[in-house]
Amino acid sequence: MWRFLYILLLLSLLSLSSCDHWAKVDVYELPSPYTIEVKGEEYEWHIRYPGRDGQLHTDDDVSTQQHIHLPENTKVNITINSSDYLYFLELPDFRQIGMAVPEMEHFIEITTKTAGEFKIRGDQMCGYTHESLYGILTVESPRRFHRWLAQQH
């Protein structure tokens, strides 16, 4: 019995140590405000982050869907737009709502504080209700954020 538990513990620790949790992470200073882009397209949120150059729409951008990652204690400017329909982007925990409109850019600004997971709500204006417009916003330590960002490349 104890032998089994001992092996299980070793395996668990091995599993933790093998993940890149302890790996070297390049934590660099983000511009303030940190600007990301959230675009509505075919009833989904497409998120774009600037790479090391701090600029959006350059070669080192990182793109994800539905799930926004942000570092804690950071002022963030979220640029919202759409490539097709009208969408509401709602971050209820930050009391912010933005409209995603094709050919237009709108902005909402939030300041992240403590780490945690927060809801993203989305609606298509005057159309279907799409569960694919629901998502999650993860606020995490700068180290974790940069590690996550690096993993997307």
Binding site: W2, R3, L5, Y6, L8, L9, S12, L13, L16, S82, D84, Y85, L86, F88, E90, I97, G98, M99, V101, P102, E103, M104, H106, E117, K119, D123, Q124, M125, C126, G127, Y128, T129, H130, E131, Y134, G135, I136
Partner: protein, 654 residues
């Protein structure tokens, strides 16, 4: 082999690792639960079935026991008996290729005696195919006289609304039909219900996104001018075709972001004021008169806020501030929108003016559809009577926080003085389009029918009947009066068919599906007209539906009330326009005074040149009828001998 002394440490460490892992799993599970609550879907008959309808009916019927207004009568949908077989059809942007765009606003109807036989006929507009002209045969029966009427050519364009007005003062109603991009129609009536297209010669064939039509004689020259509202550019100019009932039709494809049009100045489209020059010639004079309406306008109405006898214009905006233009004694219009109405309904559709409390002032009732849409269909059943807690940001609303998110009711307290009282008098409802006013129970107070509801892909919602309780408040009465539930308990219909194994396999409704699939849509009305269709002395209701057959709601009030008393007033102008549009009529009976303005309107996209109907609350005689004609003439008829019938009033020549 671990020593026994290290066992608690191993155990504790393992516990911590498992607890950490468990916490992560629990967090993930919680998020999944919160974010995977399936939103309500409305694509099958069962999904649309309004299981709340019965309970609401019972609650309203129970509530009605305390109503202080007569409601012991009912309506029944007599469409099959009427002989009307008209069917409204929508294009694919409202069905299989659904887009949130203004096509789903649907279409109107209008009524007039087109052939001079003394009976009121109906013209129903279809988005696809020709509008239908239905001749009133009497006794609630109708015959289709569209073939050979000259109106068949409306099938070549996408129509929106229609209005009758006697543009040449020859005693018969001519017809204006608004369309999308391919040119509006103006038809001249030869007096027998045969129409000739004079759009191009008359110079009123505007090509755009037109909507409601208002006939008005703004300068009192005796000729009806035309105010054509334009919504804005909500189609992309690309034409595509589709088949329906063996015919091929085409239409302009709607923008996917049609409801952002007001944010994009390049998509605005000014409404147009045409001055009638006589001899069926018109001239656009919008700018010249000072009208610069670039709002997303679906309709308008004539109001006389400053009581000077000149018709002013209240212009609705379905995406922003409504506008109000004061008529400067026939010389032009002055924008007084924010001055008189600082806050207006954000998503306005209908505007109707009537005297709610019989104090002689015309109050203004505006329905608001688009605010309700902003809350999406998730707005709860029990929230329908509340203003919408809109979540749209100001950069979308663009009204500086000065909007009402729901219906508004501007009670007129004096010349140019209004107070918004919609919530005080219960004027709110849900998903409203066209509002028609009339004294449904003939008690002397004006009631309203509000054509309401969306269709595919939304849930079912009821049409509203609000009875006026002695000028104090409206009381909900659609279930009490049998307007809801609909005939046969219908609430949905097959909306379109898909071949999920063939041509439609990429369609969103075909994910995980094979074979043929029928998608259902909820039933919903768009516009209505109130008139005594079967000439039995009470007001009936005819609707135009979206992608469905109309309702012909026949009232049994005259059967239920032996002491029913009413007066119908038919105006015939001489110096004024022949229809008498813009006239003010005051009827006195049994110590009560009833005031109506003959505006010819019947809410969103609908028009009516019917005789004015005055319910007289059981009065045995009429004491006096006074008319203030658009020309300015005052005419008084003391003790007219007619009651419970039609009083024809001809304007004196001088």
């Amino acid at each position: 082999m671990p020593q026994s002394s290290s066992k608690p440490i191993i155990f504790l460490a393992l516990l911590l690792v498992l607890a950490f892992g468990g916490y992560q799993l629990w967090q993930n599970f919680q998020w999944q639960v919160e974010n995977n609550q399936s939103p309500q879907r409305y694509f099958t008959e069962e999904e649309i079935r309004p299981d709340w309808l019965e309970q609401r009916a019972q609650e309203q019927i129970e509530q009605a026991k305390s109503y202080q207004t007569f409601h012991d009568f009912s309506f029944s949908d007599q469409l099959p008996a009427s002989g009307i077989t008209f069917q409204h059809y929508c294009n694919p942007d409202g069905a299989k290729d659904h887009k949130p765009v203004h096509y789903d606003h649907g279409n109107g109807l209008c009524i007039a005696d087109v052939d001079g036989d003394g009976r009121t006929d109906i013209y129903l507009v279809s988005q696809v195919g020709a509008g239908g002209l239905w001749r009133n045969l009497g006794d609630g029966k109708f015959a289709d006289i569209t073939p050979g009427s000259g109106l068949e050519i409306t099938a070549e364009r996408t129509s929106v609304s229609a209005s009758f007005g006697d543009i040449d003062n020859d005693g018969d109603p001519d017809l204006y039909v608004s369309t999308i991009r391919d040119g509006n129609f103006l038809f001249e009536n030869d007096g027998t219900g045969k129409f000739k297209d004079i759009s191009v010669d008359a110079k009123v064939d505007y090509h755009g996104h037109s909507s409601g039509i208002t006939f008005v004689d703004y300068n009192k020259d005796g000729l009806l001018d035309i105010f054509v509202t334009n919504v804005g550019i909500y189609t992309n100019g690309e034409k595509t075709s589709f088949d329906l009932n063996g015919q091929t039709y085409d239409y302009y494809v709607g923008f996917k972001d049609g409801f952002a049009g007001h944010m994009k100045p390049e998509r605005s489209e000014s409404s147009i004021f045409y001055e009638n020059l006589g001899d069926n010639q018109f001239k656009e004079v919008s700018k010249q008169l000072g009208i610069d309406d670039i709002g997303w306008t679906g309709d308008a109405n004539i109001i006389d806020a400053n009581d000077d006898g000149y018709p002013d214009l209240y212009i609705t905006n379905m995406q922003g501030h409504d506008q109000y233009y004061e008529n400067d004694k026939g010389k032009g219009f002055i924008d007084k929108g924010r001055e008189l109405f600082p806050k207006t309904s954000w998503g306005a559709m209908s505007v109707v003016a009537f005297d709610f409390d019989n104090n002689g002032f015309q109050d203004i009732y505006v329905t608001d559809m688009h605010s309700d849409m902003g809350a999406n269909s998730a707005l709860g059943i029990n929230m329908e009577k509340a203003k919408v807690p809109t979540k749209a940001p100001e950069n979308y609303l663009m009204t500086n926080g000065m909007s009402i998110f729901g219906n508004s009711f501007f009670r007129k307290d004096g010349t140019n003085q209004y107070t918004e009282v919609s919530d005080t008098i219960n004027a709110e409802n849900y998903w409203p389009w066209g509002l028609s006013s009339g004294d449904l129970n003939a008690d002397g107070f004006t009631d309203v029918f509000i054509a309401s509801s969306m269709n595919y892909p939304f849930r079912y919602a009821v049409n509203s009947v609000l009875l006026n309780e002695n000028g104090q408040r409206f009381v909900d009465s659609e279930f009490v009066l049998g307007v809801e539930p609909r005939r046969g308990g219908e609430f949905a219909k097959p909306w379109f068919e898909l071949d999920c194994s063939g041509a439609d396999k990429e369609h969103r409704h075909c994910v995980g599906q094979e074979g043929k699939r029928t998608i259902y849509g909820a039933l919903g009305s768009r516009s209505s007209a109130l008139f005594d269709l079967d000439e039995d002395g009470d007001l009936d209701i005819v609707t135009n539906e979206f992608n469905g057959a109309p309702m012909v709601l026949i009232s049994n009030l005259s059967d239920k009330v032996s002491s029913l008393s009413f007066l119908k007033v038919q105006l015939q102008g001489s110096q004024s326009n022949r229809d008498g549009l813009g006239a003010k009529v005051i009827v006195e009976a049994a110590g009560q005074t009833y005031t109506r303005i003959h505006d010819g309107k019947s809410g969103y996209l609908a028009q009516s040149s019917y005789p004015l109907y005055f319910g007289l609350n059981g009065a045995e005689k009429v004491d006096k009828v006074a008319v203030r004609w658009p020309s300015g003439q005052e005419q008084i008829i003391d003790s007219p001998t007619i009651i419970n019938g039609l009083l024809l009033i001809e304007e004196p020549q001088s």
